[in-house]
Amino acid sequence: MSAAIKKKSKVIQNERIEEGIYDLWLKAEEMASIARPGQFVSLYCKEGGRLLPRPISICEIDKKTGKIRLVYRVLGKGTKEIAHLKSGDLIDCLGPLGNGFNLEGKKALIIGGGIGIPPLFELAKQLDCEKNIVLGYRDITFLNKEFEALGDVYISTEDGSAGTKGNVLDVIKKYKLTADIIYACGPSPMLKGVKEYATINNIKAQLSLEERMACGIGACLACVCKSTEIDHHTKVNNKRVCKEGPVFYADEVVL
C-alpha cells in the first residue's frame, strides 16, 4: 500500500446536512487516487492549542476529480472548529490511514449506527454484490436517501420517528436479513451486538473500531484494542486501530 500523505487540502464544500452533521468535500488528489473504503483521514486543527488529529473516515472517493468526502458530527471543539471552515480554506490532512474494508462475499449486510454510517458509503458503492443496508439512528436521519441507490435500505430510530423503533439488530431480526458477510461501523455496544449476532449465525464480519489516537500511523501505541491472538507487531494481545485497523474481522478482537 502507498504511504499516507500529509498535506494541506482545499475545502471544496463544507455544509451542514443535519443538526450537528456536516458534509465536507476536500480537494486531495493524491489521497483520492489511493484511498480505499474504510480508511480514514487525520484532520488537524489550528486554534485553541489543539494539536492531536481528528480521525474521520472517508465517506466517498471521487478519483476522477481528485476529491474525498468526509461526513462528521460536531462533538467537541475540534469538530466545531472544522465545521467553521469555508470553501477555499485549507486544512492539514494526513491520510489515507488504516487498512480499509476487504471487499468480499456474495450477499452483504451493511450495518451502520449513527456517525458510523458515513464510512460505509464508499464501501456500498464499491461492493458489487447483493446488499442489504441497515442504518440505525437516534432520531435525526442522514445519508439514508443516498444509500437507497446502492441497495435495500432499512432504518431504525431509537425514538421511532423513522423506520423501525429500536436499534439495528431489531431491524435485522424483524426482516430476518441474512448474509455471507457483514460490514459494520457504529458505537461499541452496537458492534458488540453485531459480533454476537455474526458469531451465533456463523457469518463472517468486518467491524470498524474507534479509539483515541495521537500519531495515526502506528508509532505511539495510543490506539490499541484487545486482540484475541498475540499480535505479531506488539507481541502482546493488542492491535493498533490506526494501523492493523480500523477494520477488524470480528474474531480478531475482543470487544
Partner: protein, 323 residues
C-alpha cells in the same frame, strides 16, 4: 521597534542552497560518539522508526532513540491512553513494548540498515531488570543506552527511581557495571530540584543526561464525571511544557559537566535552538512527530537555516551560549 526577524515558513529553510549547507558543521559529540547532527527522536514517539520511514529518511537523523524496551513483552495500560490538552497531550501508554528479544531480532537490523546512530531506551520494574536489558544490549550493535527512570505511567520502575537523588545515583552506578556502551540517564521533571538529580546521575557515572520526560498531569471528563485516561494520570508533553524543559536543561547544564540531550515541546528549529543555547548538546523531537511526521527533519533544517542566516559555521559554538 526596529528589531528585525525572519519569517517562519518551513519552506524557507529548504531554499538555502546545498553548498552553503554543506559547509556547516552540525556534528556533535556525546560520550565519545560522533553524531552527524544534534537531532534525535524522543523515546516512545517514533517507535523504532519503521512507521516514519515513509516520511523521514532516517539516515538524515543524528540518531534514532527507540521506544522503551524491557526484558519481557509489556502489555501497557488500558485505553484511553491519550488525551489532548491545550498545547500538549497526556499519555499513559504504560511502556507497552514487545520485549528485548523482538527488539534485537526485528527492530535492530531494521535500524542498522540506515546510516544513523541508535539509542535504545531501557525500562525495567526492578534495578535488576534494567541491568539485564543493559547486559543483553551490551553485545549488540547499538550506540548508546538511555535509561528511563522517569516514566510516570507505570506502577513499578519508571519515575519511582527518578525522583530521589539517592536512588538515581544507585541505579546509575548499577547499570554502569553492566554497560559496555555509554549511558544516558533520562531525568524526570517532577522534582523540586533538577540540579540535584542531575548531579546524582553524574556521580553515578552517567555519560550523558536527557531531559525532560513528561510532567505528571490529569484531565477530567466533566461530561462523564470521570478521569479521561484509564490510568487517571498521564505524562504531559508538547509545546506547553517547553518553558519548563528549557529551564531545567539550563539548570542541569549549569550543575553538571556531562553533555545533555534536551527535549520537551520542540516543534521547529527555533525551539531546538533554545535548548541548545540553554546548554543541550543534542535535542530530541517527540510529540511534534504526531502533528507532523516530518518534524524531525523540519527541526534539523530550521537549525541549519538559522546557522546560515547568522553565519555560524559550527553548531558547537551555540551549545550553552546563553549564560
Amino acid at each position: 521597534m526596529e528589531n528585525k526577524k525572519i519569517n517562519y515558513d518551513n519552506e524557507k529553510n529548504v531554499n538555502i542552497d546545498d553548498k552553503t549547507m554543506l559547509k556547516l558543521n552540525t556534528k556533535v559529540n556525546i560520550g565519545g560518539i560522533t553524531f552527524k547532527n544534534p537531532v534525535t527522536t524522543a523515546s516512545g514517539t517514533f517507535g523504532s522508526g519503521m512507521e516514519y520511514r515513509d516520511y523521514v529518511d532516517l539516515s538524515r537523523l543524528g540518531a534514532v532513540t527507540t521506544k522503551g524496551v524491557s526484558l519481557k513483552p509489556w502489555p501497557g495500560n488500558p485505553t484511553p491512553r491519550v488525551a489532548e490538552t491545550y498545547g500538549g497531550m497526556l499519555n499513559a501508554i504504560g511502556l507497552q513494548n514487545p520485549g528485548i528479544d523482538v527488539f534485537i531480532e526485528r527492530d535492530l537490523p531494521f535500524l542498522r540498515s540506515y546510516d544513523t546512530k541508535i539509542i535504545v531506551n531501557v525500562v525495567g520494574k526492578t534495578p535488576e531488570e534494567y541491568c539485564e536489558v543493559v547486559e543483553r544490549l551490551s553485545d549488540c550493535d547499538v550506540d548508546m543506552l538511555e535509561i528511563n527512570i522517569s516514566c510516570p505511567n507505570v506502577k513499578e520502575g519508571g519515575i519511582a527511581f527518578g525522583q530521589d537523588p539517592g536512588r538515581v545515583e544507585a541505579i546509575t552506578s548499577q547499570v554502569k557495571r553492566y554497560a559496555k556502551k555509554p549511558i544516558i540517564i533520562k531525568l524526570s521533571p517532577n522534582v523540586t530540584d533538577i540540579a540535584e538529580t542531575a548531579k546524582a546521575a553524574e556521580a553515578g557515572g552517567a555519560d550523558a543526561l536527557s531531559l525532560i520526560n513528561t510532567l505528571t498531569g490529569m484531565k477530567i471528563d466533566i461530561e462523564r464525571r470521570t478521569f479521561l485516561l484509564a490510568n487517571k494520570t498521564g505524562g504531559l508533553s508538547g509545546p506547553a511544557i517547553k518553558p519548563v524543559a528549557v529551564r531545567m536543561v539550563y539548570q542541569a547544564a549549569s550543575a553538571v559537566k556531562v553533555p545533555i540531550i534536551g527535549m520537551g515541546g520542540i516543534i521547529e528549529g527555533e525551539d531546538a535552538l533554545e535548548f541548545i543555547m540553554a546548554g543541550a548538546t543534542m535535542v530530541a523531537v517527540g510529540t511534534a512527530n504526531f502533528i507532523n511526521p516530518r518534524a524531525t527533519l523540519d527541526v534539523l533544517d530550521g537549525i541549519k537555516s538559522y546557522m546560515v542566516r547568522k553565519n555560524i559555521k559550527d553548531i558547537n559554538e551555540l551549545i550553552g551560549c546563553v549564560k
